[in-house]
Subunit: 424 residues, 2 copies
């Protein structure tokens, strides 16, 4: 019999409690529910012997075996997890910030105290990708992970894609459906996915990176016209998180979270609505993809309960297999790849010549220029696609280009995924 | 340090040995390679202290910890696995026949002898679906598994789809590429997928079924014209394996392996070439999909080596979590769903009336009749789609219809997947 304390009784916490109370989990017993102002949280379907408390010390000082942390945010969650592990309690968490920030340290602490730290729910909710990568593909040597790790962004982008709606309208819709927070910054600017990508880098590539170094690009400036141009390039737009071992220095991970053009036939293009996908590439197994519901109370609760079951199954030295995770060098932020740049200008002769001149001076080859008919001359959107060039080159060129006076709006640039992920 | 004997040194066995010898597997040591006529198998990159033998007794009587069985086929593999487990050796196998036939019995034997039986490689090769379903989704209650479990069929069908080639030509191509055996029956008639589906039913639905009871449909009679008609219905054709708990009797599993029309936008339609996909549906987590390379030496070897790593990580009573697998009632073979029937007739007036009369007498509603222009009158293919009806009804109607004298070829019927799997 394993005893379990639930810390945080929101949507996910309640879903976990439901699964535990309604299922046949004879080997698991809920002992505590800890939440701020716990009185207003009480529900009648929780067994009478469960202790309701708003004092975390009551959980940490108890002899309960496992703490499930679902309060989110860095502190006090990190402190509570640390104290629980120090008493030999295993911890299951859905907290991407804590794991991205201090995962390595906490895993060591767990090992030292002969207990476990599991966090399947921290990345891609109900999709068992941590376990899949860490255990199911343990026999492979992975060199790249990429995916769609934020369901809110994906909902917004797929809505813009299918209905031609604006970013603002799609965001509003996502908020009304409860997919997006009232402050959507963490989702749309990539902060949420940044933490998740750092966790995947540790688990999949065995490299612990400083997640704050992963460069971010926001999806906010994307407009319906970008989907029209993307389609002319047989692409659509997704917020892509990617990390790969650097060929010349395998202590180093190249990573980014940003909107990208992805081929319509790619795995990434096919992820719709609030779903997530993680694609990993290995030396032996090739590409393997995991997809499903990356968020929501029930899918996330499945990940938490699966972790609970997993603890029961593990040998005591289970954290030992994390020893291969190494501190990585600073994150490599440079990719070399084709780019899409959308300009919105007040039209006049000579604009193309000016742009081409700048790109040329930076050693960048223009591949094509696309212009949809029928757009207003004073706010004319057109697209330049560029052959492979480095991130630094395009940024420098665009800094120079921004100083021209013909812009009606800031130019928007996105990489074009040059590799076609062929998996379904 | 764990010691490992490799039994079967073909494509997969050699790939496993390569990964073990080239990787940093300090905690694993290869002790034996056992193969018929082992002399002709010897290679110089295997460490000198490995014992080469063609006598399985030498492996079973040794104190090696783990036997990896890669010879395939029911016997003698089953006997060897049984004897190994009886001596307390853990067994890792890629053998779908053995697991489909005697998995429950062998798992019990493993538990009794305090050792492990793992078989990730037996289903969907390099895709970690056994682990994903058994552990990653342990917290969910799955009620349906479906997938594309045979890469050979999928290669043939996607070739027919994209290039309009005949079944025979696509098969020939698959054989030339090494995807298909010289006798392709096990693949194209569904026998291979049948065993894999039974394993997924046990692992995912916790129901052990007699795999020989799963009804099979062959892909052999499918013709290029069927892809043309399928496309008019916004579908394509895939060999689909599916198993689901019967709503009214959860001791019973409804299952089939057969070619089906699947919507172009579905998960299943998007699996191309020799890839595999497994989609599971759960009460809490919704749909989750696992996709990747289902066969080939390296991907399958990844599954085997991942199982090896997994043994190291497990508690001694690890097989205990299999206790929830129950013997199921006989397989339910009846589905109620829409159907596609392609007739090839020597055209004359009254054919549609005759067909419609028979369907009507069997209580089956005709939904649409499709006929491509420009086909020869003496061998005219046309399609009737039927509203939802039971498997037994359509079979009885077709038996009656077959006796008409206007057929130039046997009618071909396939279910139309009525549920759109929306996952990427």
């Amino acid at each position: 019999m394993r005893t379990v304390a639930l810390v945080g009784f929101g949507t996910v916490g309640q879903a976990v409690a439901k699964i535990l109370c309604e299922g046949s989990y004879d080997h698991l017993r809920l002992t505590h529910i800890c939440n701020r102002n716990v009185g207003r949280k009480k529900v009648d379907w929780i067994p009478a012997d469960v202790i309701w408390t708003d004092d975390i010390a009551e959980v940490i000082d108890s002899d309960t075996n496992v703490m499930i942390e679902l309060i989110g945010g860095l502190e006090p969650a990190l402190d509570w997890i640390r104290r629980s592990l120090a008493t030999g309690k295993s911890v299951i968490t859905a907290n991407k910030q804590v794991i991205a920030h201090s995962g390595g340290l906490l895993l060591n602490l767990a090992r030292k105290n002969n207990c476990h730290l599991l966090f399947e729910a921290a990345v891609a909710g109900g999709i068992p990708v941590i376990q899949g990568v860490r255990e199911g593909l343990a026999g492979d040597q992975l060199f790249r992970v990429l995916g769609i790790l934020n369901g809110t962004c994906n909902y917004i982008l797929t809505r813009m894609e299918t209905s031609g709606t604006s970013f603002a309208a799609a965001l509003k819709e996502a908020q009304n459906l409860g997919y997006a927070e009232s402050d959507p910054t963490a989702d749309v600017d990539g902060i949420d996915a940044q933490a998740k990508l750092a966790i995947l880098s540790a688990v999949g590539l065995h490299r612990e990176i400083d997640f704050t170094q992963i460069p971010l690009g926001t999806i906010q400036p994307i407009e319906p016209i970008d989907f029209i141009y993307a389609r002319r390039l047989d692409c659509t737009i997704r917020q892509v998180s990617r990390a790969e071992l650097v060929e010349t220095n395998d202590r180093c991970v190249r990573a980014s979270v940003q909107p990208m053009l992805v081929p319509l036939v790619s795995t990434l293009a096919r992820v719709e609505g609030s779903q997530n996908v993680v694609v990993v590439e290995g030396t032996f197994g090739g590409e393997t993809a995991f997809s499903g519901y990356g968020a929501g109370g029930n899918p996330t609760a499945v990940a938490v309960v699966s972790d609970l079951e997993s603890i029961a199954r593990r040998a005591d030295d289970a954290s030992a297999d994390w020893h291969t995770i190494k501190k990585a060098d600073p994150v490599e932020r440079e990719f070399v790849e084709p780019h899409y740049v959308r300009f919105t200008v007040t039209d006049r002769p000579g604009i193309i010549a000016s742009l081409a001149g700048v790109f040329s001076r930076h050693g960048i080859n223009v591949e094509s220029i696309l212009q949809e008919p029928g757009c207003p001359k004073d706010e004319l959107p057109f697209v330049v696609t560029l052959e492979s060039c480095s991130t630094v080159a395009i940024k420098e060129a665009l800094t120079e280009i921004t100083s021209f006076d013909f812009h009606a709006r800031q130019p928007l640039w996105m990489p074009i995924a040059s590799r076609v992920e062929r998996l379904p």
